[in-house]
Amino acid sequence: MALLQIAEPGQSAAPHQHKLAAGIDLGTTNSLVATVRSGEAKTLVNSQGRDMVPSVVRYTPDSVIVGDAAMTAAQHDADNTIVSVKRLMGKGYSETLALKEKVPYQLIDQQGLVAINTVQGVKNPVEVSAEILATLANTASETLGGELNGVVITVPAYFDDAQRQATKDAAKLAGLNVMRLLNEPTAAALAYGLDSGQEGVVAVYDLGGGTFDISILRLRRGVFEVLATGGDSALGGDDFDHAIVSYLQQQSGLAELSHQQMRQYLTLARSIKEQLTEEESVSFNLPGDSAQTQFSRSQFEQLIAPLVKKTIRACRQVLRDAGLTAEEIVKVVMVGGSTRVPLVRSEVAAFFASEPLTSIDPDKVVAIGAAIQANVLVGNKADGDTLLLDVIPLSLGLETMGGLTEKIIPRNTVIPVARAQEFTTFKDGQTAMALHVVQGERELVEDCRSLARFELRGIPPMPAGGAHIRVTFQVDADGLLSVTAQEKSTGVQSNIQVKPSYGLSDDQVATMLKGSMQHARQDMQQRLLREQQVEAARVLEAVSRALQADAHLLNDTERLAIEQALTDLATVQQGDDTAAIKAAIEHTNHLTDDFAARRMDQSIRSALTGHNVDEV
């Protein structure tokens, strides 16, 4: 294991140059990219002068179009124009049957996963999202004049493991270095600067195009703690539009709408909704009808009242989860274009008995917060003051006998987290075992979300009940799960074969990477070499710094061996032998394992005493 870079809070580890970083809000309806320049976070505009890029991708026989241009074509090329792809991320085909009616393109079953049939062949949601991410990253690179060192991408707090993984895969496919998946509400609170100065409990009400999230955060002494999250991953402004469409369809007397008509009605509904934010009433023509139709705000509010009520119920539930009452909330942050709807604002204000914060554009607030965090993570801002402690939004569990779930990591547990569980064999000489990991709160496995099936192989043959397999579930800071297993008495490490239920395996991602238009032009070998060189540079920097700070923890033999390894690593790093660089990194990591452990101990002690160990 290599060395941690340990820096005193408030002091950067080394002098550094300004690095390029961006925050990306990958939304259901619109996406944005923002960055911090001259100390201020701002959204970036593309060559058309727009910062809000519709999350729409259109496939033509020989090109891929993203954003406004794709949107314009949506009406006449509905089949090949993918909207609201975020709703499909990390989903199985069978889970999207309800959406089939609502989306104007053709969903198909790709080995259990949902995919879309286009003129360019079958595209999965990860590939479609990668196109949006690449477009945004491109805008950022062009504006900033260089390749991005890293990005922060926001996801709804409610996203489960499969959806987060799909988002990360999309970024990988787009060639981006993801420093962190950040929960949207946390980003919004950061944008309002609530991390400095504000103390107390804050609610973030995020009603976007396709998702609703309510999160309760506690802020104290610069620490951001997500106390609880809740919401509905299939509720948003799109549903307001559909409510209007249903109403209009009734008025028109049409029994059924074609894909094309649906698109026209949706566009009309959206414009009605937007006008009703300012106006009390609007008049318009139904498609193909010359007569004027009137529609008032109160009619609109009647249509959407049940949907808004649903969000308030979720607010009540999440407060209960956090063990709080509405009066204890000191600030409410509004996020998402749908919070412009007057009924939404008034209901939220009434429930929390507090006027919500709306001074930052609710469409941009998440991207701005993401940019602020990206700037910190890339190392441009040397303040160790903000600490974001996130929680896992949904419980992780295992299937047990009779289709019941056993919770391993309950929801709202602070991440990163690792929990181990022991299993035993039930047959003599059994060498393999299957585990089914699910996510959700319900008792029955079939009511939870299937995440993955694991097969443990290579268990040493023993009598029934003789083998004790310790399975460790680890969730990282992004909320992503990984699993390891070990037989306890023999120490044999089991092989784990992961079959994500609604995700892509590592091999599939690698294949997509090779096949993608994006990288066909680039030399794959070159890319792999570059990756290893960057990693080697990181290792060199970290170890050199560690030697400088803590050489006293090593004896002369150890120190000389490490120094030799660094010299060797620096030499091969200059060459073009990818495998040799990789081997040299591993060698260095191996040599510095003990050193890292000693530094870790020392650093724990010094953190707790406030002194260097030498002084104690």
Binding site: G150, L377, P416, R538, M600, A607, T609
Partner: protein, 174 residues
């Protein structure tokens, strides 16, 4: 792993929770993966593992029952995953009575006051048992440790009842 050692706190049942909290945050600030996001791959992995340990330790020390179990485990007495039946007829009778009271809440004219009443009983019993537990654990001898283990088993019943009571209260509110 000794969680008390990790936080550099004395291995005692009576713990200063404010101090624990502030030490927890100090360690988090040092080791959270976000502080190491531009480090090498191994560094980041190490940061994840270390923070997971810190989170686990904090979680276990924060709650009295888990803290007591951890203390006993450090003294070689493991009870966290034991499967054994409980034979204290007096105690079991008392539990059954409390369960009956829970079951009859929705038959009452004034369920809120019944809930308050049961809640008071549970809190009182819990407090009493926790005090006994503290004394037993402080003695630091094998006999008292066995007694502590029994007290933990009893307390688990009360925590469970408390949860069920909260559930009933929620259902009534909906």
């Amino acid at each position: 792993m000794n969680y008390f050692q990790l936080f550099n706190l004395p291995a005692k049942f009576d713990l200063d929770l404010t101090e624990l909290g502030s030490r927890y945050l100090k360690l988090q600030k040092q080791f959270h993966p976000d502080q190491h996001s531009s480090g090498s791959e191994r560094d980041r992995l190490l940061a994840v593992q270390q923070t997971a340990n810190i989170n686990d330790a904090y979680h276990s020390l924060k709650q009295p029952l888990l803290r007591a179990e951890h203390l006993l485990a450090l003294r070689g007495l493991k009870i966290s995953h034991e499967q054994r039946s409980f034979t204290d007829p007096m105690f079991l009778m008392q539990q059954m009575e409390l369960r009956e009271q829970l079951a009859e809440i929705d038959l009452s004219d004034d369920p809120d006051s019944v809930i308050d009443d049961i809640d008071r009983q549970l809190q009182q019993q819990k407090k009493q048992l926790l005090n006994q537990l503290s004394v037993a654990l402080d003695a630091e001898n094998a006999e008292q440790d066995q007694l502590a283990a029994d007290l933990i088993r009893k307390l688990k019943f009360f925590y469970k009842l408390q949860q069920e009571l909260e559930l009933i209260e929620q259902q009534l509110q909906d």
